[in-house]
């Protein structure tokens, strides 16, 4: 196509010479990847225990045993407290900064009352701003306390039946219960789909997601560049007055943005691989195809937008919305299982879903290119539709 190399060269220089593009496409996602990976490491790599503050006002053997037991189901953060009473004000002070969801207080004389079979309720203070998480925490604590009750009741029954003292039978009962709980009668046999593959790290979850999420900003580069040339510069008119056809003029912008998108993915995946030990699997061709097809989406979206509006503010609003919405619904920002069913259904209508699933298949699920061919085909449809709409729009515009 005549003039394509000239137009491409110009668009490459304009786009690659723009430091804002590098910041938006490389630096910002990298910052997000690092911070989110560390911030949600526990959630992403499978240790979702919530933090629980425990204030032990009794400081007895029984209270320490309870604290130790609770630490098996929640992550206990102990707080020493010298005062005689612990009030709601003190609790509010503990989770006022948002670092704690709930505070469990073991009251004074807890051990004595337990020994005397008197009620000795624990006090649970819940952060009103985090009620949802607090109920999960409460269930975990209650389960643990019910296990304790089960031990006591079983010990009493066994002692009565056997005629032996409770203190004597207790260790045996405790051992039997522990064995039963750790080895249930209906066992779970976890199947290893990819032999020898360690669990995905937090970075292996975040690098693909944030790479896809931020590359949608490239649509701004395409739409903005075309709008800028049309609205504020005579360069658009001068270029279109040359023998170079209109589709070639916009193709240069599209290809430059597309190449920058591919480069962004390569850089972020390389950083993930070499700086954070991210494993890429062995299907490099499949990964490359997924990335190439996905990067055509923002280029096409930008072109289609530019074909219908020169309003840069409107373009940016639409693109910013697309970046966030597609990333959330498509599973690039959050794992899909965290989304409600209706949103999981909607995710199929985003290119992010098909790209993320293809990448996860190839990187973590041990699938090969043939296995993800269908998903990549759907992704290709998402790429081709906006590109076609955009090119047709420019091809058939009568006036510059």
């Amino acid at each position: 196509m005549r003039g394509l190399s000239t137009v491409l060269w110009k668009d490459f220089l304009l786009l690659y010479g723009n430091p804002a593009a590098a910041v938006l496409l490389i630096v910002l996602p990298l910052i997000m990847i690092v911070f989110v990976s560390f911030a949600f490491e526990k959630l992403l790599i499978g240790d979702p225990r919530l933090d629980l503050s425990v204030v032990d006002l009794d400081d007895s053997a029984a209270s320490r045993d309870l604290t130790h037991d609770l630490d098996e189901v929640v992550s206990v953060k102990e707080h020493a407290w010298d005062q005689d009473r612990f009030t709601g004000e003190d609790a509010a002070g503990l989770f006022g900064s948002g670092r704690r969801v709930a505070v469990l207080v073991i009251p004074r004389q807890f051990e004595e009352r337990r020994a005397a079979d008197e009620p000795s309720p624990l006090q649970l203070y819940v952060d009103p701003a985090q009620r949802g998480l607090a109920s999960t925490l409460r269930s975990a604590v209650e389960n643990r306390l019910q296990s304790e009750d089960l031990l006591e009741t079983t010990t009493t029954v066994v002692a009565e039946v056997s005629g032996r003292p409770s203190e004597e039978v207790r260790p045996d009962v405790e051992a039997a219960l522990a064995e039963a709980l750790s080895d249930p009668s209906i066992p779970i046999d976890e199947q290893d789909l990819i032999e020898g593959r360690s669990l995905p790290s937090a970075f292996e979850q975040t690098v693909p997601g944030f790479t896809l999420m931020f590359s949608v900003f490239l649509a701004s580069a395409v739409a903005g560049q075309i709008a800028l040339e049309r609205r504020t510069r005579g360069t658009w008119f001068r270029t279109l007055a040359s023998p170079v056809g209109r589709p070639v003029v916009v193709l240069g912008t599209v290809l430059a943005a597309f190449s920058l998108g591919v480069l962004q993915s390569v850089i972020l995946f390389a950083i993930g691989r070499f700086a954070f030990g991210m494993e890429l699997g062995s299907e490099y061709l499949g990964l490359a195809l997924a990335i190439i097809l996905f990067q055509m989406v923002p280029a096409g979206l930008g072109l289609a937008l530019a074909g219908y509006t020169d309003n840069i503010q409107l373009q940016n609003n639409i693109i910013n919305l697309s970046v966030l919405l597609f990333a959330v619904i498509g599973g690039a920002l959050l794992p899909l299982f965290l989304l409600p069913d209706w949103m999981q259904f909607l995710s199929r209508f985003t290119p992010h879903f098909w790209a993320m699933q293809s990448l996860h298949d190839l990187m973590f699920r041990g699938r090969d290119l043939a296995d993800v061919a269908f998903k990549l085909s759907i992704l290709a449809v998402f790429a081709v539709i906006p590109l076609t709409l955009g090119f047709l729009r420019f091809q058939f515009q009568r006036d510059a």
Binding site: G234, P243, D399
Partner: protein, 311 residues
């Protein structure tokens, strides 16, 4: 030889008529001026000739190629210098020219030679490798002109190329345009709303007003239509004498009135002045200012359109 022939050209944007039945011809090698206020249709006409706008009715032939059928050939033959600064601030002057020249598929060696010539023509040789963002407005305008010349167009369309330009740059641009017309034989369409520019530079002029062609001829011939002199009287009162009464005077060849200003073209300035003073006395009008001078395009425009060009 005709470089451009336009017959019955109509162009509308929705309900708004930009051009209403324009008939024009540009001769090869001439500098043809297109004069008119903002919104007269000048830029629309330029964009139609550059194939950037379609038209509704009429026939347009550019460098022997009929539009819109032969748009591609027309684009090869035409150069445009748009009203907007059509250069990239991010690039150097040379890189801009490499880009715009590259669009025409000019071989690299030839293009480099032409860039050097174009830069010299507009006086930017010493600034070739500086970023355009550091240029003054006048320098950008000169580069804007250079970018339209690289493929040696047979027709160069200059759409208000001196807007916001300092006198030095304006002089440079004028010199370059004259040189292109005289030495290269390039046909130049020059649109402006500066009367002095049109008078000074153009071989022939067309005056457009509200999309209609109101006059087209050489500058001396257009001025002659007003007579050898113009008598201009400014009254204290807003409503001057009725035109019909004045036109009955045999010594007035043309009459125009606007905003308390009466202007007559005349072969006999003394007779005309005497008659005007008599009219003013009879009607009880008070005179603020009187001028008798050779006619200018300003007066011609006022007479033809009834309004000042810069309104």
């Amino acid at each position: 030889m005709k470089s451009v022939t336009i017959r019955g050209l109509h162009k509308s944007y929705g309900d708004q008529h930009a051009l209403r039945g324009i008939d024009l011809e540009f001769r090869e090698g001439e500098i043809f001026g297109l004069l008119g206020p903002n919104g007269a249709g000048k830029t629309t006409l330029v964009y139609i000739l550059a194939t950037l706008r379609s038209f509704d009715e009429g026939a347009v032939t550019v460098c022997s190629y009929a539009l819109p059928k032969k748009s591609q050939q027309v684009r090869e033959s035409v150069g445009i210098v748009p009203q907007e600064l059509a250069v990239y601030d991010e690039f150097t002057a040379r890189r801009n020219l490499l880009y715009f020249g590259g669009l025409y598929g000019i071989p690299s060696k030839t293009l480099k030679e032409r860039i050097a010539q174009a830069l010299q023509l507009v006086g930017l040789t010493d600034h070739a490798d500086k970023r355009v963002a550091t240029f003054s407005g006048g320098m950008k305008r000169r580069l804007n002109l250079a970018a339209g010349l690289l493929h040696r167009p047979r027709l160069l369309l200059l759409d208000e190329p001196t807007v916001g330009v300092d006198p030095q740059s304006r002089h440079r641009i004028f010199e370059a345009i004259r040189q292109l017309s005289r030495e290269v034989g390039m046909t130049i369409l020059y649109t402006t709303h500066y009367m002095e520019e049109a008078e000074d530079l153009c071989d022939r002029l067309a005056i457009l007003d509200h999309g209609t062609l109101v006059a087209c001829d050489t500058v001396p011939a257009l001025l002659r239509s007003l007579g050898p002199a113009v008598v201009r009287i400014e009254f204290e009162e807003s409503m001057p004498l009725a035109e019909s009464r004045l036109l009955a005077q045999p010594c007035f060849s043309s009459v125009s009135t606007a905003d308390g200003v009466l202007q007559v073209g005349t072969e006999q300035p003394e007779e005309a002045l005497r008659a005007l003073l008599e009219f003013a006395r009879q009607d009880g009008l008070h005179i603020r200012d009187i001028q008798v001078r050779p006619p200018s395009l300003q007066e011609l425009f006022l007479q033809l359109t009834g309004s000042d060009l810069r309104d």
